[in-house]
């Protein structure tokens, strides 16, 4: 054996330093926290950015409400997925990531149809940057709250959990932007709402891998 530390000594060391721990809150509780953060963020976006003037009339149109429902479902399933997968033993579950993927697929499909059928090819950078800023700013608080809740558990598949956290946050950011932006042009939504959303998702995979709770555990020799 290369390791000079005996396993029995390690056990004695761990037992001697044992302190009572606060268990990770149940899934429902963590989801409620996320939901609260999501509602507050969405409310904040409505107040600080302002809703589009025709929001109420648009809500009854399927063309407008279908993507909104898809984004909401995507954010919700991503949040459930992040909370559930972050507990060891649950990481192989496929149902929740699949539900989130279906919601993402629905949003992409609606956008795709819009891009194919729309004639408009103009992009206004000024307006677009405002939308992108809204997506990014309102993603952050929701993602941070969820990241805290998830990190308190002990996620094994860090990339997947990071992606779910990012999608749950970015989904609320994209929804905020969708409800406050008056531009229905599919190319605009794709470029300034959807691409930043995807960008945050990729960032989530990267950041998720950085927050490894097992970091520093090596060879069992560094426990002192």
């Amino acid at each position: 054996m290369n390791n000079p530390v005996k396993t029995d000594d390690l056990i004695n060391y761990l037992v001697a330093g044992l302190k009572p721990v606060r268990r990770v809150p149940p899934l429902k509780m963590r989801l409620l926290c996320w939901l609260f953060a999501a509602v507050v963020t969405l409310g904040g976006a409505m107040i600080f950015v302002g809703t589009r003037s025709d929001l109420l009339s648009q809500l009854v149109s399927i063309k407008f409400s279908l993507p909104a429902i898809a984004i909401m479902a995507l954010a919700f399933f991503s949040a459930v997925s992040a909370c559930f997968l972050s507990v060891p033993g649950n990481e192989d579950s496929r149902v929740l990531p699949i539900l989130a993927s279906i919601s993402l697929g629905a949003w992409v499909a609606v956008l795709g149809v819009g891009l194919i059928t729309s004639d408009s090819t103009s992009l206004h950078a000024g307006e677009g940057l405002c939308c992108m800023r809204t997506v990014l700013i309102f993603s952050l608080p929701v993602a941070l709250v969820l990241a805290y809740l998830v990190h308190r558990a002990a996620p094994i598949r860090l990339g997947m959990v990071g992606l779910s956290v990012a999608f749950a946050g970015a989904g609320m950011g994209a929804l905020s932007s969708y409800l406050t932006c008056a531009n229905d042009n599919s190319l605009h939504i794709f470029t300034w709402h959807f691409l930043p959303f995807l960008g945050v998702g990729c960032l989530g995979i990267f950041l998720g891998r950085l927050f490894d709770w097992q970091r520093g555990i090596q060879g069992g020799v560094n426990f002192k």
């Binding site: 054996m1 290369n2 390791n3 530390v5 396993t7 390690l10 056990i11 004695n12 761990l14 037992v15 001697a16 044992l18 302190k19 009572p20 721990v21 606060r22 268990r23 990770v24 149940p26 972050s86 507990v87 060891p88 033993g89 649950n90 990481e91 308190r152 558990a153 002990a154 094994i156 709770w213 097992q214 555990i217 090596q218 060879g219 069992g220 020799v221 426990f223």
Partner: protein, 177 residues
């Protein structure tokens, strides 16, 4: 060796106590975990000398994640999930390290090895190693002999050759990092 239903029941109770800070229960839980973990790791690692390292890493992970266990659920899935992750991490690290070493050794073959032949002082890169380790690495990496052939030539057991090479690689890795 897996976790029997009886053990699972016992471990659930022990972990519940451990979460409230009961030391005896935690010690018993960790000892059972260590035993199961040893069997689990032994079946997955080629190098028997590293088993205890990975068992200890697993115990540390269990200690760090003990708050995430829900005692109303079976213990085995939670436990094996952590155990699997530790073994995978270890294999990944090993593979990364072997690749790095292979690359470095290739460089050595191109430059240092040629230089070493010229000045006749042996391979420079291996200069910091004790004689026995240097000989093993030379035969394995520069003369492309198999572990069996090296063991025969140096009158050592195959396990001993692997352990010696592993120790030498560790020293080399530390030098390169």
């Amino acid at each position: 060796m897996g976790i029997t239903e009886e053990q699972d029941h016992e471990l659930r109770k022990l972990m519940l106590d451990a979460q409230s800070g009961v030391q005896d229960s935690y010690a018993r839980a960790l000892r059972i975990c260590a035993e199961v973990l040893r069997g689990f790791v032994q079946r997955r690692l080629m190098d028997r000398n590293l088993v205890e390292d990975v068992v200890q890493e697993g115990l540390l992970s269990i200690h760090k994640a003990r708050h995430s266990y829900d005692p109303s659920k079976p213990f085995a899935p939670w436990f094996f999930s952590i155990a699997r992750s530790r073994v995978c991490d270890h294999l990944r690290k090993e593979s990364r390290y072997r690749n790095l070493l292979r690359r470095k050794m290739d460089q050595v073959e191109e430059s240092a090895f040629a230089h070493a032949h010229v000045n006749g002082n042996g391979i420079e890169i291996l200069g910091s190693l004790p004689e026995k380790q240097r000989k093993v690495v030379e035969l394995l990496k520069f003369q492309d002999l198999s572990v069996k052939e090296v063991a025969k030539r140096l009158n050592m057991s195959e396990t001993s050759v692997k352990v010696t090479a592993h120790r030498a690689y560790k020293v080399l890795r530390a030098e390169y990092e």
